[in-house]
């Protein structure tokens, strides 16, 4: 394998895998030295492999080098009081090609996922730590993805790592009786991660593809494990696959947003849609229907429809009615309204919208305005539509969205500007 054929994100993924493996071996309180050791190994690889080919087994090479660096670093830090290093710890070339050392790595990553989503961390810390330790992203990359300042992310990581070091200790898969609860936190983090990537909080780029794919990757680690392979995990995976199938169709060559209605469905990744269907199928076991199940069901109806006009609005509305019983968030309400309008028309939709106007927080949400603008336009109130659209533009943080809304304001030539969000954009 030459360097230029090397797998996309190899370094980033190996970072996560090796950090997980070493933390599993040496415990969470060594996380700083562990990260340093893996970074050193990657630097060495970068220097050396840049001059020629990759080794036959890049993972094994990196693991060996990082491991040996770590032991050196531990010795130097004089923490050897706790550790007896039998010579076996030093991994030589012959030992490392023995695949048994690397075979446990999926499990190690799984334990790491639980560790990063440990209840002692708050949700933001869980997300940031997952991106850093599992995803191998740098502080700058995380800050850019989450639209935060570098300094803020740095501080959050430091705080999160302190807790990580002190509260977690040995990495493990939670015991049966705690598993569902812990799993539920993990799924939330993965869902939020996917959303961040999907709606892209980064100023310029609408879709942070890598973050979405990372979320999918983490969920796949979960389903590959017997104990964690629960229906809701499969449902979440299905949801993520259906939505990510549309990546290439969401933005046109000019960098502009394209709504679901106008997307070229030939650009939808059918393999991802198939994967979505596969996981949706697998999720339909057991007694419980979760939000993920419903959202996945909705996503599948959008994604498998031959065309926008042939979309099964009625079934989707039914699913939203179910969803809203579980989750009354304004965003879900808005999502449901868009579908409602398709069936019952703009006047009824505007009436229905009054129910949400009791919730004050909705007035800070650009989606509320852009959806209302759409209804207003459909109902023939062009002036009102324009006003609402301008409000939406002001509130939208995202450049591409702003441009999209802006174009539609200046030239009232819009296509259905329907938006759903937080769960996923109607895009």
């Amino acid at each position: 394998m030459t360097i230029n054929d090397s797998i996309e994100h190899l370094f980033r993924h190996e970072y996560g895998k090796i950090v997980a493996a070493l933390t599993g071996k040496f415990s969470s309180n060594q996380i700083d030295l562990i990260e340093d050791s893996v970074q050193e190994a990657l630097l060495k690889a970068m220097k050396l492999w840049g001059f020629g080919d990759l080794p036959d087994n890049p993972s094994a090479w990196l693991y060996r080098v990082a491991s040996n660096h770590l032991i050196d670093n531990l010795r130097r830090a004089k923490k050897t009081v706790e550790y007896d290093f039998p010579e076996e710890f030093f991994i030589d070339e012959n030992t490392i090609n023995d695949s048994s050392i690397l075979s446990g790595i999926k499990d190690e990553q799984l334990k790491m996922i639980f560790a990063c989503c440990h209840p002692s961390l708050n949700q933001t810390e869980q997300i940031i730590l997952s991106l850093k330790l599992l995803g191998g992203l740098s502080i700058k990359e995380i800050a850019s993805a989450l639209l935060k300042k570098d300094e803020a992310v740095k501080k959050a990581i430091t705080r999160a790592k302190e807790k990580f070091k002190n509260e977690i200790g040995k990495l493990e898969i939670p015991a049966q009786n705690k598993l569902n609860k812990r799993l539920s936190s993990v799924l939330k983090v993965i869902y939020l991660l996917f959303n961040e990537g999907y709606k892209a909080t980064e100023g310029k780029i609408l879709v942070k593809k890598d973050i979405c794919l990372e979320a999918i990757r983490l969920a796949e680690i979960l389903v590959e494990n017997e104990v964690c392979n629960k229906p809701q995990v499969n449902a979440l995976l299905a949801l993520m696959y259906f939505n990510s199938a549309r990546f290439d169709a969401r933005i046109n060559e000019d960098g502009e947003l394209v709504t679901l209605e106008n997307q070229n469905r030939n650009l939808w990744d059918q393999n991802k849609i198939k994967a979505g269907v596969y996981y949706l199928d697998k999720s339909s076991t057991g007694m419980e229907i979760t939000e993920y199940h419903i959202e996945a069901g909705i996503a599948s109806l959008y994604s498998t429809s031959e065309s926008f006009d042939k979309t099964d609005w009625n079934t989707i509305l039914n699913l939203y009615n179910l969803l809203i019983r579980i989750n009354q968030s304004p965003i879900i309400f808005l999502n449901r309204l868009v579908v409602f309008e398709k069936i019952h028309g703009p006047e009824k939709a505007l009436e229905e919208m009054k129910n949400i106007e009791k919730e004050k927080s909705i007035f800070d949400n650009h989606l509320y305005y852009s959806i209302k603008a759409d209804f207003a336009k459909n109902a023939g109130n062009i002036e009102s539509a324009k006003e609402l659209l301008l409000k939406a533009i002001k509130l939208s943080e995202n450049t591409i969205e702003r441009n999209f809304l802006g174009t539609n304001s200046l030239i009232i030539r819009y296509n259905n500007l329907s938006y759903l969000s937080n769960s996923y954009l109607f895009i």
Binding site: T2, N4, A45, S138
Partner: protein, 115 residues
């Protein structure tokens, strides 16, 4: 046609603060550059140098750990290329990804018998 040596220095701090993703991208740039040189018959040899080393000095051959010169001065790697002249060798060195990290390339002719 003569042989020239490139001595690579510096770029450490920028290099070391890269994310894994950035490191991979940087590595791939080296790969592309080196491959290009090899295909044109320009590349003779080259490798990075390890961080640790020793220095043996003087008649007494005193051995010390090192070199511990300032980061910018330590040679991090070398390359040997074929080129028609020093100026040409300098021109060829312009493609080196090290410059992205604010590094430095020293270009020296390797003396040969045919002078």
């Amino acid at each position: 046609m003569a042989k020239y040596m490139y001595l690579f220095r510096g770029g450490d701090s920028r290099r070391e603060n890269q994310s894994p993703e950035e490191m991979q991208a940087h590595m791939q740039k080296w790969g592309v550059w080196m491959k290009g040189l090899a295909e044109k018959g320009i590349l003779v040899d080259g490798l990075p140098l390890g961080k640790e080393g020793k220095v043996v000095s003087g008649e007494k051959k005193v051995v010390t750990d090192g070199p511990f010169a300032e980061g910018k001065e330590i040679v991090g790697g070398y390359l040997i290329v074929n080129a028609d002249s020093l100026d040409k060798a300098v021109e060829i060195s312009n493609g080196c990804p090290l410059f992205e990290h604010d590094g430095q390339v020293e270009v020296r002719e390797i003396m040969s018998m045919d002078i």
